[in-house]
């Protein structure tokens, strides 16, 4: 479970995140949406301990990130939008390294090398150096490595960037399965169709403030929109783009020139 209380972060005079309060329960797949610069990445970085908040707190599975960072990090799996991999390691060596970092049993690592690399289509590349893998293959390897220590919380920034349709399908199914098995999945994406397809709940961030929170159908009802998530999103974030809302229809999608 993720518990965020009164979280705020500023960079100079820019307020990246303002007084964010949010609880993502165990087993929920939560999608965090917002325009560019709305504060999504700052929030996810605060959830992972990479950025310290100016105010407020984050608890991961009951562990306060500021007070017990190591205990919290053990339960966390994080995939940034541009993940780093050691280019001069082979995929099994990379998995072994990540496994050792998290204290994963060697048999479990070996099992992952056999099963997961095959499942993710990397079995034929076991002896290749990571630097020689394509972008999509590296992304797949990152997923294998992140799942290796069975994290209780998954934070993923733009999970489907650079993946082929087959892998996208696979990742979506995998994330849903992880959530069903009790893992809390917190992801940010700009692909609203993905959020609409897999999210149990979404949160929309605009200029650092959480402007909408709930299941997608509920949001549509609340804002009286018959369209899709895109319409809800565009209406709620119109200010970010400096767009006017259609005259006389304050609760509808904004006019896009």
């Amino acid at each position: 479970m993720i518990e965020i209380k009164n979280l705020s972060k500023s960079y100079g005079s820019v307020h990246a995140v303002i007084d964010l309060n949010l609880i993502v329960p165990r087993g929920e797949l939560f999608c965090f949406l917002g325009p560019n610069g709305a504060g999504k990445t700052t929030t996810i970085k605060m959830l992972t301990g990479l950025v310290h908040p100016d105010a407020g707190s984050v608890r991961l599975c009951g562990f306060d990130l500021a007070r017990e960072p190591l205990a919290a990090r053990r339960l966390l799996g994080y995939i940034p939008d541009l993940p780093f991999l050691y280019e001069r390691l082979t995929p099994p060596e990379f998995l072994e390294f990540v496994g050792d970092l998290y204290g994963v049993d060697r048999n479990r690592v070996n099992q992952a090398c056999d099963e997961e690399l095959t499942r993710f289509g990397l079995a034929d590349h076991r002896r290749a150096l990571v630097g020689d893998l394509s972008h999509g293959m590296r992304q797949r390897l990152i997923y294998v490595a992140t799942f290796l220590h069975d994290p209780q919380i998954l934070c993923i920034d733009e999970p489907l960037v650079g993946l082929d349709p087959y892998t996208i399908r696979m990742i979506k199914d995998l994330l849903k399965a992880k959530a069903r098995s009790g893992v809390t999945v917190f992801l940010t994406t700009h692909i609203l169709a993905v959020a609409e397809e897999i999210a149990d709940r979404v949160g929309i961030l605009s200029r650092g403030r959480l402007v909408a929170l709930g299941p997608i159908d509920e949001l549509k009802k609340r804002h009286d929109i018959k369209g899709d998530l895109e319409s809800v999103f565009l209406m709620l974030t119109a200010d970010d783009y400096g767009l006017p809302v259609s005259p006389g229809k304050e609760n509808a999608a904004p006019c896009i020139p």
Binding site: G12, V14, G49, F97
Partner: protein, 554 residues
């Protein structure tokens, strides 16, 4: 398994896989790089050996200098290690690409900092060993010492290196944690203090009537005394090595123990600071908002100055200048190297080098040209050579623009040249003015510095285009590639080929072996040859680079 062991094990795998990487390279490339490294090693050995022999010829002062030189070189290397430690620690701790992966894993900050410190030591150490080993070998051969001497040196060098490199890391951790809020004002104050110090040191001093040996002793002994302070780690290392060489094993181990215990203290301090400060230092650094107003003002000024060059060249040059100014690694290294040289040249009169006989002043002038040229070679190889490759995935922006690849290449060349030539000419002009040399020598050395700036910029820009690697985002990998090594080797060869034909006739003139007429005649032949060589070294790589860019498929 302890996290530190896990991290080292990962490095072990990466080292083992180096074999796979090397096997893919052509054996010519690998052999070339090896030959270059060996050439550099034995070249330095030869230089050091002839230096010791030269000191031997000097007699009294020479013997005295030789006695203390071991301590002095450790002091100089110690200062180098601190500076190098600052740069590599900053880069390893705060700018490394694996930071996010490691910071989100359950590794304690103290362990992470210790691991990054090891990385920083290893990165700094190759230059240290490339100097200390040929030096020790030359010293052992000259003094007819046991071959174990090199072994004793290694025994002391490792803790010595860790200690001084650690001081750099400690400085970085403390500085980043408490970056002054009013950095600009602090920098101005610091600049004023440095300027005041320089003004104090370079105040004019009258030429004295000392003879050579008196002068050397009075000038050199204070420096040597400083180097041989018994509280300095450089003295422990130098004295300890000598004690082992003399067979005083007990004294040797005592000094080694002192050095090792102090090194352990430094490691403990780094570990503690890592635990206490690292996370806060990261937040402090990553939370810095650049002062926009200053950047806008600087951008507007550059924009105005570059107007005469047309919009396209102005745009390209502005991008490169802004990239340079916003990369602390680039400007800090340039500032350190050129700043130290500038400070040394400005202090030449303090050391009364201007009062030396002509033969010595001539030697110092050309040594200074060598120093400036070596820094030019190093910086152009480090920063100018990888410029085009670092465009990386953004290459399509300039590649497809109406600027044309020719203009792109030439703008990069001229931007680098403007900076390199201005600094090198100014430094050599300062050095010759401080030494009070004749106008002819001044003209020749200033022209040489201009020629070297032209040649190194041409080579680095041109070869950077010939060996373009758009897939590589790590500048160090680009610099240490075959093309980067070839560029450095050719730059150093060009430097030697251009300087020596001018330095030798002036030296012979001062020794009385040739007359002024012979000097003029020699310069009359050498001068045009250098002009032709410089033009060839500048234009040919640029032409090859342009051809390669135009023929390449992207």
């Amino acid at each position: 398994m302890h996290p530190l062991r896990v991290l080292y094990k990962k490095d072990g795998h990466m080292f083992a896989n180096l074999n796979t990487v090397l096997r893919r390279e052509s054996s010519f490339k690998v052999l070339f790089i090896l030959a270059f490294a060996l050439g550099l090693f034995f070249g330095l050995y030869a230089v050091f050996l002839s230096g010791f022999r030269f000191l031997n010829i000097l007699g009294g002062a020479g013997f005295m200098v030789t006695r203390y030189l071991f301590s002095l070189i450790f002091l100089a290397l110690g200062v180098m290690m601190v500076l190098s430690g600052i740069i590599t620690s900053y880069s390893a701790l705060f700018r490394s690409r694996d930071s996010i992966l490691l910071l989100t894993s359950p590794i304690p900050d103290s362990t992470l900092v210790l691991y990054k410190f090891t990385e920083s030591c290893l990165l700094s150490s190759w230059a240290f060993f490339f100097i200390i080993l040929p030096y020790t070998l030359a010293y052992a051969v000259h003094e007819k010492l046991s071959p174990f001497f090199v072994g004793w040196t290694l025994l002391f060098s490792i803790p010595f290196l860790i200690l001084y490199s650690g001081l750099g890391t400690i400085f970085v951790l403390l500085f980043i944690r408490w970056i002054p809020r009013h950095l600009r004002e602090w920098m101005i104050l610091l600049g004023l203090m440095v300027a005041g110090l320089i003004a104090y040191y370079v105040r004019p001093t009258a030429r004295t009537g000392f003879d050579d040996s008196q002068f050397l002793l009075s000038r050199l002994i204070p420096g040597l005394q400083w180097a041989s302070q018994p509280l300095g780690p450089n003295w422990w290392a130098a004295e300890g090595i000598m004690a082992f060489a003399r067979g005083q094993i007990g004294r040797g181990f005592l000094l080694w123990g002192v050095l090792v215990s102090n090194t352990l203290l430094v490691i403990w301090i780094i570990r503690s600071l890592g635990k206490l400060l690292f996370a806060r230092a990261c937040q402090r650094l990553w939370g810095i908002v650049p002062p926009r107003r200053r950047q806008e003002r600087l951008g507007a000024m550059l924009d105005h100055w570059l107007q005469p060059f047309g919009t396209i060249s102005r745009g390209l040059a502005l991008k490169d200048i802004r990239t340079f100014l916003r990369d602390p690694m680039q400007w800090s290294q340039s500032l350190i190297f050129f700043g130290l040289l500038g400070f040394y040249f400005a202090s030449l009169r303090t050391f009364r080098y201007n009062a030396l006989p002509d033969v010595w002043r001539n030697l110092i002038v050309f040594l200074n040209v060598f120093s400036v040229a070596a820094v030019l070679c190093s910086l152009s190889s480090r920063f100018v050579y990888p410029q085009l490759s670092l465009e990386g995935q953004a290459f399509w922006i300039i590649g497809l623009s109406p600027a044309g690849l020719r203009r792109v290449l030439l703008t990069k060349f001229f931007t680098a040249l403007a900076a390199m030539a201005t600094i090198s000419v100014a430094l050599i002009a300062l050095s010759t003015t401080m030494l009070g040399v004749a106008p002819l020598l001044k003209g020749v050395t200033v022209s040489l510095s201009l020629a070297i700036a032209l040649g190194t910029c041409g080579l680095s820009t041109g070869l950077g285009a010939v060996f373009l690697d758009l897939k590589q985002s790590n500048p160090m990998a680009i610099v240490s590639s075959f093309g980067g090594t070839l560029n450095l080797a050719l730059s150093l060869i060009f430097m030697a080929v251009v300087i020596l034909p001018c330095a030798i006739p002036f030296h012979f003139l001062n020794l009385g072996k040739i007359g002024p007429t012979t000097l003029y005649r020699t310069l009359g032949i050498v001068g045009p040859a250098i002009v032709v060589l410089t033009l060839l070294t500048t234009i040919l790589p640029l032409w090859l680079g342009l051809r390669s860019l135009q023929r390449r498929e992207y």
